[in-house]
Amino acid sequence: MEKPVATLDQGTTCSAWNYCSERLAAGSVDGSLSIFDSRDPSSSSFTRSSKFKAHEAGIVKVAWIPPEYGDAVACICEDGTLSIWEELVEGTQPLQWKLCKSFKTSSKVLDVQFGVNQTSLRMVTAYSDGGVKVFELIDPLELKNWQLQAEFQNVIDSVSTLGKASCLTACISWNPQRGEGQESSFILGFNSNTPQLNSPKVWEFDAAHQRWLPVAELASPGDKGDQVYCVAWAPNIGRPYELIAVASQKGIAIWHVGSTPDLDGRLSVEKVALLSGHNSEVWQMEWDMSGMTLATTGGDGLVRLWQSNLKGTWHEQATLQPTSS
């Protein structure tokens, strides 16, 4: 059933596949970034094609930039810096990975995700002080120039005053749809000491006023302060509602989010399942390309696969247990 496709170097801490699953970027504890490629498209064996030192500190997260903007990755380091690296040919130099941009801020970057719409590339970053920034790429062919488009905090009610927030992790997931006339939206949650920041909120871009608005909060009234480990927005191939998975200390919740806002501009939300699986922290959640199967992994060291049956009941369909032999 399983087949090894690549061998990673000592000290590898994180990895990410590109849009077509043909390239793998792997970050390492010594700050180096490795890129793996296959010889031909039908092969599923990947070997390292380049390795370079991206940073002095260890890399904790890598994310590919959407392919319309080139072969590039963003990496977050232990010290909280964010840098963007791109593979390109410049002048007469050979093809190589180059640093395009390095973002330095007083607070650490915890997560970064990219969203594409018709004309622009947007980058959302979440910081250890509970801040959220949205950047927009100015020139579609240059990953150097980013413009800060918005800066806000992950709260519905902006008048409430927050104490000094300290966030351990953050999780962002863009709405994967990118159809005509579709506004950009993403969901964001925190694992922090500030309850108001934690609950995952759906942010949608209001093009008329050029601002981001919270349109939904995915937490039951009693759970709003729960620390959130992970969020994942499912691809929608035709459902009348959106499907979003949220992992918190209480388990993995599956939410249906309506598509038409009410008078206050809020979307209807419904928690359709609360699944318990990984006992402790959930590390990652990924939807398959149809949005039918959710794969999760977490502190129990297992991969779990979840599906809904014909009656609409969510259940664990299979568990993958890593074994060394």
Partner: protein
């Protein structure tokens, strides 16, 4: 329904584990020795999941030890019976019957919408079913050897597969409905072909025969061996008449040297053999190699059956038995007669598996059994008599079919045989059954508004999508999904790599076929950016133009423009000239590109003058220079270089090339430039220090000459 919990119909989406309490746990072998610190997951195309396994850092780590492994898991794959490559062949071969059936169905439904008359397009499910059956392998026995070995009882054909066996079951129960009175005999044939499939877990008539076949060569006097009579009875019970007759003819009494001594005995053996070969059977056609007399019509069959049974009774009560000295023969033959008369105990003793018992009942006790309900009850009775140790997927399917529960049949197909089976079997299940059609085509809110049929097609398409050799047929199935197929197809196409030209072209072709224009242009855009950034500027521009991506083309023009501006030397210009040509003038790009085109024309004319072609070239060069200088899109920093390049034109020997107003225009520009130099941020062009003066002088001289001329 006993044995099948109603929850089975809950229907798992993917077939990789039985629907039960608690998920199935599968090991994920990664081969790392050190403990695991973390996992990372990523879906590849379709239903393959890639898991990165990171080893915990260890102090005493040896250098050659890997720090992690990436393992790919294909969900729902791995049928032990059929190899991956065989599955791919089945997948490819089933495309055309499926597509043909869909187009027939579409034609039929559009016709029935247009008129109330019956449609001229008959949807032929049996043809579809036969096509699919054929591609699952050829089950027919190999041609008989020329010298028939009398001791070879069991013929070895192609290895039967459960998949084909399952398909044939569906075929006989759903695609061939009208012929229900032949169903028992169809099942007899089915078991003859597939009984060996059950030998793995159970003792079967087939396995008994195979074992006996091995012994046969060593046996001198077969009729003395009790197993000889045992296997004959078993074969008779399940209706393998040719084997029975063949075995009977091995009886010692046929040997020439024995014939005179054992005349009565031989007569009895032969009488039984003849009776067996004359057994009346309810079959559609008399086929070669099938013993017995076939009847199509029931009354004829009933008459013949009564007559045949009367013969058996007569033989059973004949006095010849007392004259038969050989005890085993006597007993063996008489127990065969009991089987033929339908003695339930004898049938039960002679058979091993419940399905064999079931078939024997259909053959000898209830040959008129019709209707699934009575068939189902009979099956339950047989299962009680011969309980199954383990639940075989084929048996589960039979029970589901006989139980007339479409959901169970579907769940068993999915669980036992995977998404290919369900997707293609649904066509048979809905054939002529309004109930099934309603059930499978009804849109479910729980499924996001799609029908069960569509759901299974989507699942199958995902399986196809996960392999580089089969993803190209997934669109055919996705296109048959009315509600959600197209969006999944778009996602699938967007996840194909663009860097290999052949794949890219294939991808674009599929997009065009399904009129997915926005996906096409996005794919081209990705390809364009990829090539542009990887140093293949020409291909980059080409694909961006194909994508009509004005936004990026504009940026490219701007970049060219900037770099031309930085180094206006002839060499660097040559590098860009091809690209400017490629960018073409049709693209509605703003100033930058327009300037580049004019600049190129100007440079060309100057070059021609340099080469000695003077008259026309000099006039053209002057025109180009004037348009360039007049055009507001020409950046100021180019003015002086342009004029400096034109010194030769300004100092033209024969006559002044610029008239008064033209010269005045140029002088004004020079004046403007001198003013601009005083402002901060002015970029001094990379020209000799005397450039400005020589241009000014040349302009003044030209002005004087032009005035004189006019």
């Amino acid at each position: 329904m006993p044995g099948v919990s109603s929850d089975t119909s809950g229907g798992a989406l993917a077939p990789f584990s039985p629907e039960s309490q608690g998920a199935a746990v599968y090991p994920l072998h990664h081969g790392l020795k050190s403990p695991i610190s973390r996992l990372s997951i990523s879906w590849s195309r379709g239903n393959s999941l890639r898991v990165s396994v990171f080893a915990a850092p260890s102090d005493h780590s040896v250098n050659e030890e890997a720090g992690g492994k990436v393992v790919e898991v294909k969900l729902g794959s791995g049928d032990g019976e059929i190899s991956d490559s065989h599955w791919r062949r089945i997948a490819y071969d089933s495309v055309s019957p499926f597509a043909l059936l869909q187009s027939r169905k579409n034609a039929a439904s559009s016709f029935s919408k247009m008129s109330m008359n019956s449609s001229p397009y008959d949807v032929d499910w049996s043809e579809y079913s036969k096509d699919i059956n054929a591609l699952l392998g050829n089950q027919k026995s190999p041609p008989a050897p020329i010298i028939d070995d009398p001791k070879s009882v069991i013929k070895k054909g192609e290895e039967p597969t459960s998949l084909k066996a399952a398909w044939e079951l569906l075929e006989m129960f759903y695609a061939e409905k009208p012929s229900q009175s032949w169903l028992p005999e169809r099942l007899v044939d089915w078991l003859a072909g597939y009984d060996s499939l059950f030998s793995g877990t159970h003792s079967t008539v087939h396995s008994k025969l195979v074992d006996f076949q091995k012994e046969l060569v060593n046996l001198q006097v077969v009729e003395d061996d009790p197993r000889y009579w045992e296997v004959i009875s078993s074969a008779l019970a399940v209706g393998w008449l040719d084997i029975v007759v063949k075995l009977l003819r091995l009886h010692g009494s046929y040997r020439l040297d024995q014939l005179s001594n054992r005349e009565t005995e031989n007569g009895l053996v032969e009488a039984v053999a003849v009776l067996i070969s004359k057994m009346p059977r309810m079959r559609l056609e008399q086929e070669d190699g099938i013993l017995g007399e076939s009847f199509k019509a029931k009354p004829d069959f009933v008459k013949a059956l009564e007559k045949w049974r009367a013969h058996i009774n007569k033989l059973d009560s004949s006095a010849f038995w007392f004259q038969c000295a050989h005890q085993q023969t006597r007993e063996g033959l008489r127990s065969m007669l009991q089987i033929m008369l339908g003695n339930a105990d004898s049938l039960c003793t002679a058979t091993c598996h419940w399905i064999e018992l079931y078939i024997s009942h259909l053959l000898y006790i209830r040959p008129f059994t019709v209707g699934l309900e009575s068939m189902y009850n009979l099956a339950q009775k047989c299962i009680q008599l011969k309980p199954m140790a383990s639940a075989d997927r084929l048996m589960q399917l039979i029970i589901g079919i006989l139980g007339e529960n479409t959901e169970v049949v579907l769940a068993e197909c999915s669980k036992g045989f995977g998404p290919w089976m369900v997707t293609h079997a649904i066509e048979l299940l809905t054939a002529g059954s309004d109930h099934a059609e309603m059930l499978l085509h009804e849109e479910h809110k729980n499924l996001g508004g799609i029908s069960i049929e569509e759901l299974y097609r989507l699942v199958y398409a995902q399986v196809l999508s996960s392999h580089p050799l089969t993803w190209q047929i997934a669109p055919i199935y996705l296109a048959s999904c009315m509600k959600q197929g197209m969006v999944l197809l778009q996602i699938l196409l967007s996840k194909q790599p663009v860097q290999h030209n052949q794949l890219l072209l294939k991808n674009i072709e599929i997009c065009r076929l399904y009129e997915l224009d926005s996906i096409t242009s996005n794919i081209m855009k990705i390809a364009g950016v990829y090539h542009w950034k990887h140093g293949r500027k020409g291909s980059g521009v080409f694909w961006l133009q194909q994508a009509r991506d004005e936004y990026r083309l504009n940026r490219i023009a701007q970049q060219l423009f900037d770099s031309v501006g930085k180094t206006i030397s002839d060499e660097s210009f040559k590098q860009w000239e091809g690209l400017i040509q490629l960018l073409g003038s049709e693209s509605k790009t703003a100033g930058g590109l327009e300037f580049l085109h004019k600049y190129r024309d100007f440079k060309k004319s100057l070059q021609q003058i340099h080469d000695g072609k003077t008259t026309d070239a000099s006039r053209q060069a002057v025109e180009s220079l004037i348009t360039l200088m007049k055009n507001p899109s020409t950046p100021q920093r180019f003015w002086l270089p342009l004029l400096y390049d034109s010194l030769k034109l300004l100092n033209w020997q024969d006559h002044p090339l610029f008239n008064v107003s033209q010269t005045n225009l140029l002088l004004n520009k020079l004046q403007e430039l001198s003013m601009a130099r005083l402002r901060p941020g002015f970029i001094e062009p990379d020209l000799p220090p005397h450039a400005l003066d020589s241009v000014r002088l040349a302009l003044a001289t030209n002005l004087g000459r032009a005035i004189l001329e006019e």
